[in-house]
């Protein structure tokens, strides 16, 4: 069915020093906090028109970590970071395909 892809719906998300996403097709991807914060897609981190990154990575603390997070509908994750930044909406599509991650062999 169109739009109903198991690979872009998470079954479980958890944090243990890194962010883990277990997708409905069984794949398990792992994200470093700093990398995710650096990849924030929001309008104050990325220029809306040019798509150029505005965020200065040197301003991200080394110990950056999520404080809180919430699902957005069927398609994204919203994260409140320890630097008080919370406007980034991380779509599942991009978490799966674009944002830097490693894939766990065991799932």
């Amino acid at each position: 069915m169109a739009g109903s892809k198991l690979s872009t719906r998470p079954k479980e998300i958890y944090f243990d020093g890194r962010m883990h996403v277990i997708w409905r097709d069984g794949v398990h991807t792992i994200y470093k906090y700093w990398d995710l914060r650096s990849a924030c897609p929001c309008a104050s981190c990325v220029d809306e028109l040019t798509g150029e990154k505005v965020l200065d990575d040197s301003t991200i603390p080394d110990d950056i970590h999520p404080v809180k997070s919430a699902y957005i509908g069927n398609y994204a994750l919203e994260i409140l970071w320890s630097d008080d930044h919370n406007t980034g909406i991380y779509t599942f599509q991009k978490l799966r395909d674009e944002y830097p991650h490693t894939t766990s062999a065991i799932s």
Partner: protein
């Protein structure tokens, strides 16, 4: 026999700390004590200045607690200062936040179905309400949310014009008609009042109808979206975990073009498109029975095949369907045995099958 809390307290009060006669409780040496079964997990704070009596105090506390009925084992953790514990707790909380919250509404419904179209005037609300009634006929518990905040038409179709919504406690109570619980902006503002709202305002109203309403829950929540691909669609997509969307379309090209945009939008927000329904498929003359394809019949079916989406069915142009909507008594309820009502029921059965498969 004293309670275990009392016993612990009395025991700890007998253990001296510092030379002015204080005990470990008064001196706040015992930071926390948790019981898990017969094990007491104790956290102690002993500053460097008390290094000389540190070991002795720890031993006394351990031995003392073991004399308490109900405690057989003691685990100890000793730190140098209170702030050490607090920083540690903060770090633990920060490093491992809880899993993401389910910030979505309407969890009390088995299925949340969005009725959408790209173009306006294709009969979205008529389809939504008749589909809801047909699902109810099948024995399902159904609610309807009119999310068309700019042009709410569900109150008219259900014969509940100008009936205000009641607020019970902190929550708005949905209205009920023909066994369907429903809510609409049409029941919140006067009919001749224009709603000139920017996005954030529409977002807020949608949130109110989702969050602050006493929805009874059930098998199906049918959400009648406004036409297009705008703020309201995005709000609903963000605030609910929709089972899927149904695209209503007339067979003509302008409508199909807009329907394509709606499908693209749902793909973007990861909402499965469950199928397409062709409305105003063809006009069947009530006098001679001849079929006239006013908007070119079959366009929706072709489009759905192209897009690899299920085609759920086609609804003819019939005077009675329009009359039912305008009179506040939709055709599935008004004349359940009519040909058009049967078409809606077939569509409802098909949709229910698709939803069952999708789940």
């Amino acid at each position: 026999m004293n309670s275990i809390e009392q016993q612990i307290k009395e025991t700890l009060q007998q253990i001296p700390f510092s030379d002015n006669g204080g005990n470990v409780l008064d001196a706040e040496v015992v930071y926390s004590l948790e019981l898990s079964g017969e094990t007491a997990n104790v956290m102690l704070v002993i500053g460097k200045e008390y290094q000389s009596i540190r070991e002795e105090t720890i031993k006394k506390i351990e031995a003392g607690l073991k004399t308490v009925d109900g405690i057989s084992d003691v685990t100890m953790k000793v730190v140098g200062s209170k702030s050490e514990i607090e920083t540690q707790q903060k770090q633990n909380a920060g490093a491992n936040p809880a899993p993401p919250e389910q910030a979505n509404y309407l969890q009390e419904y088995e299925n949340v179905i969005l009725i959408a179209s790209g173009k306006g005037g294709v009969g979205k609300s008529t389809v939504a309400i008749n589909l809801a009634l047909a699902l109810k006929e099948m024995g399902k518990k159904v609610s309807v949310l009119d999310a068309d905040v700019y042009g709410p038409s569900i109150p008219i179709m259900l014969g509940k014009r100008n009936e205000p919504l009641q607020v019970v406690g902190q929550q708005v109570k949905p209205l009920n008609q023909y066994g369907i619980d429903f809510m609409s902006v049409g029941n919140m503002v006067k009919e001749d009042q224009a709603l000139i709202w920017r996005g954030p305002m529409a977002h807020q109203v949608i949130q109110q109808m989702l969050r602050d309403a006493a929805w009874p829950g059930g098998d199906y929540m049918i959400i009648d979206l406004p036409p297009g691909t705008g703020d309201v669609q995005l709000s609903v997509a963000q605030m609910t975990e929709a089972t899927g969307a149904v695209i209503v379309c007339t067979p003509q090209d302008v409508a199909l073009l807009d329907a394509r945009k709606a499908i693209a939008m749902f793909n973007k927000v990861n909402i499965p498109v469950l199928g397409m329904i062709e409305n105003m498929s063809a006009f069947v003359c009530p006098k001679c029975g001849a079929e006239t394809p006013i908007f070119a019949k079959g366009g929706t079916e072709r489009e759905s095949t192209d897009q690899n989406i299920a085609y759920i069915g086609g609804i003819p142009i019939e005077m009675d369907i329009r009359l039912g909507s305008d009179n506040g008594d939709p055709i599935v309820h008004a004349s359940p045995n009519s040909a058009s009502a049967k078409v809606f029921k077939e569509i409802a059965v098909r949709l229910d099958q698709i939803v069952t498969e999708a789940n």
